[in-house]
Symmetry: D2
Subunit: 138 residues, 4 copies
Amino acid sequence: MEVAYTKIEVRYAETDQMGVVHHSNYVVWCELGRTHFIEQLGFKYHQLEKEGVLSPVTNIDLTYKVPAVYGETVQIATWVESYDGVRVIYGYEIKNAKDEICVTGNSTHVCVNKETFRPLAIRKHLPAWHAAYEKAKK
Amino acid sequence: MEVAYTKIEVRYAETDQMGVVHHSNYVVWCELGRTHFIEQLGFKYHQLEKEGVLSPVTNIDLTYKVPAVYGETVQIATWVESYDGVRVIYGYEIKNAKDEICVTGNSTHVCVNKETFRPLAIRKHLPAWHAAYEKAKK
Amino acid sequence: MEVAYTKIEVRYAETDQMGVVHHSNYVVWCELGRTHFIEQLGFKYHQLEKEGVLSPVTNIDLTYKVPAVYGETVQIATWVESYDGVRVIYGYEIKNAKDEICVTGNSTHVCVNKETFRPLAIRKHLPAWHAAYEKAKK
Amino acid sequence: MEVAYTKIEVRYAETDQMGVVHHSNYVVWCELGRTHFIEQLGFKYHQLEKEGVLSPVTNIDLTYKVPAVYGETVQIATWVESYDGVRVIYGYEIKNAKDEICVTGNSTHVCVNKETFRPLAIRKHLPAWHAAYEKAKK
């Protein structure tokens, strides 16, 4: 199974008055993980958008265990948890510098036409991506 | 069942290059919904923190349907989906100006000691909140 | 002189581990102030964008005095500090609940074509806005 | 003169519906630049906070030239523009992948006691930082 690993240095602006990273920022970190996973597959998400295709999130489900803190670098592992030709579910695991699991979770994505927001089957409209997802999910 | 309704004007900074609200911002909006729900119960979250108790998120699960856009005001409904004396699960429904459902979901919270991050049973340590949650969930 | 007043409830996510609002958020609040100022003049910024015109920031200069905190509502005053037919400089003053000045500052804006990012003289291309700015700055 | 160079990969969440990076994010990038500059001097900002000292921003002044976009990595140069024993002014220059200047500017900082927010003279209370700033500004 293909896994992309991304190092993320915690930003001061990402903390809140609890003294830890605010939970909304992990959502952004997962997006960074996806960007890198897609690059590892040989694609560029911004290139896809130029070709008129967006890939919005339809669900996000994150479980928080140990909070990340400013002054450390975390690592996010990103992989394809499931793929059916239309929807792709990415899995995530974020670990801190002590190798403790901060967050686990997944996000679900579809592809849509940039102008109409109408769904596009990846299998049909993006055959190269389809092949890559099929291979990556194993 | 107690429900709090909060109007939120979409901020330009909350949009992304898809031309719609970036999905991480709904997480922040849910937090605003919780703040108002708690006020409606007669409490202040910032007062709780002053008394040495934090209420971190342990899970967030959001499903995205119709994207919110800049120029509109959305409404978030917040309620208690379940409560067992220790964990509270808030439910959310965000609707746009056309009354379409943008996002539904829930988030799970516990209470912890501010200094140690050790869990505190709400039932035992915060009896007034316990009574209010018990009443609100009906 | 025309001034728009906007109430902003501090969001938990806007705090950082100093226990106060992170300084980057005031930049977003100024944008909210501008949105309301423009509405008070009788226009909608999102409508302007639909007509193919963007109004990017070319400078922002903020001075921080007293930090805003979670649990309070601040008020931002927004006005036109100067306008020459091409560039508009908005002035801002953000006060907390105790009427203390948190932040003062200004931001400079031009108008550009949405597709090319080429500058557009407001005086020439947006005569109604030009008239409103001329009147508002007095 | 000491200069720290930091590479920053543009995040999708940092874009707005203009299709470019929202101007508030450069404020956060400058903070990343400062974190690295301080590390290059041999210090850690989070260590300073543990010792009871905060370094809030008292002014930020940024000029925007060319917008950064998703899909590219920018570089921020950070240095000490002036230092008088009490206040430090950091200078910034952010360039995109084509070596175009996106943003230039500076931010002013003082040090304060973490509990009281009362000012602390760096010269007196942080002699090692004082020596490093004196050396870095040349």
